[in-house]
Symmetry: D2
Subunit: 121 residues, 4 copies
């Protein structure tokens, strides 16, 4: 299996060959990521939450591609700010763990309004 660093280098090397960095300011990258997130969501539209667990093979294929696209834009944005994405994720996990102690968060995510925001983390 390829490791994260190798994949991110591949993504950036393709971009360099196409000279696309000139268009990739963070405002446009954040727009692109948001548009891709909408395309991901489209696969679940008009479904119940139960139905969303049973995608057709075509829908599943499309979902996988959208997830990959979103990761590619995360990589571009990480490069823009010269950040180590995994290190940021680790920091965020620590924030979540201290903010939302398990004994409070357990089982409650959807039913109690005060936990709603938490659920997004």
């Amino acid at each position: 299996m390829a490791d994260l660093e190798t994949i991110q280098k591949k993504i950036l090397s393709f971009r360099n060959e196409c000279d696309w960095a000139q268009f990739h300011d963070p405002k446009n990258l954040a727009e692109a990521l948001s548009i891709e997130a909408g395309e991901l969501l489209e696969n679940f539209l008009w479904k119940t939450t139960e139905q969303s667990r049973n995608l057709s093979p075509d829908e599943l294929k499309n979902v996988k591609e959208e997830l990959a696209d979103i990761f590619i834009f995360l990589t571009y944005l990480s490069e823009e700010y010269k950040i180590d994405l995994l290190a940021e994720v680790e920091k965020k996990i620590a924030v979540n763990e201290s903010k939302y102690p398990v004994e409070k968060a357990k089982d409650r995510v959807a039913s109690i309004p005060i936990y709603k925001k938490r659920a997004l983390l």
Copy 2:
């Protein structure tokens, strides 16, 4: 530096402790990812593309947290479908490279409509 697998295990282990998997059907996860993408975008609202390259320290901190949140939801969705996210990204890069040969894509992303879709990849 932590590797991807270790981080993804941490993310899922926190979720298990809170018993949140019961709320995490893919329809809701895709909604959450889309909402987070909107929150990321909010940091660039009312800015020109040039201004978007010069965030305040507070905005930058917020951007990093949103990128981490988006990665966390990519991880949940990958777990739902039991997919190896990096492997999917590798496949998508290969698709992009064959679909958009460098000699055609070079420099053109923003100016030629036909290349617009491509730029999202």
Copy 3:
């Protein structure tokens, strides 16, 4: 009841007093509308489709405000292009009616992939 034209004039007159038109290029307005749509969606996150029909009074109040905000941005964008929003909607309804004859669309929106796109119209 106030009519549409009066309301749209009020929206634009408040903007003029604040001199906000200078920031309201269509790229930023479309971003703002997309961010607001994410905030609307947040009221339904972690709910089943059934639960989404039974919002708390606080959530309902918030939903109404988000719908109003989205309408305000539709008005700004209509002003930008000097278009009559209702006339555009009428045209779109006619397009939908001819593209999706009732005998084909009836009852099928969610179950048949080919109708998915249609359902968005």
Copy 4:
């Protein structure tokens, strides 16, 4: 020119003929509106804010259709909650005017972080 009420009746009458109300719970409608907002935004992707003021005729046509689609989903959601959309907009304008007095908001929307949230209103 058609008035708002007539248009909204047309929108709902087409929906009734297709029996689509069964799929139109608010969670799915909010998803649809968010997806449409992403499609609107796509017309401005990779553009500078200046370029976004000069769309090609094809892009402009597409923008108008997306604005119409978003209005259609506002109508469905208003029907769901039996609200008078224009009345809600009027209330929101009053909220904005009292929250953001002109002497403070004037000219400042994009440059001062504290005014950012306000700008969305």
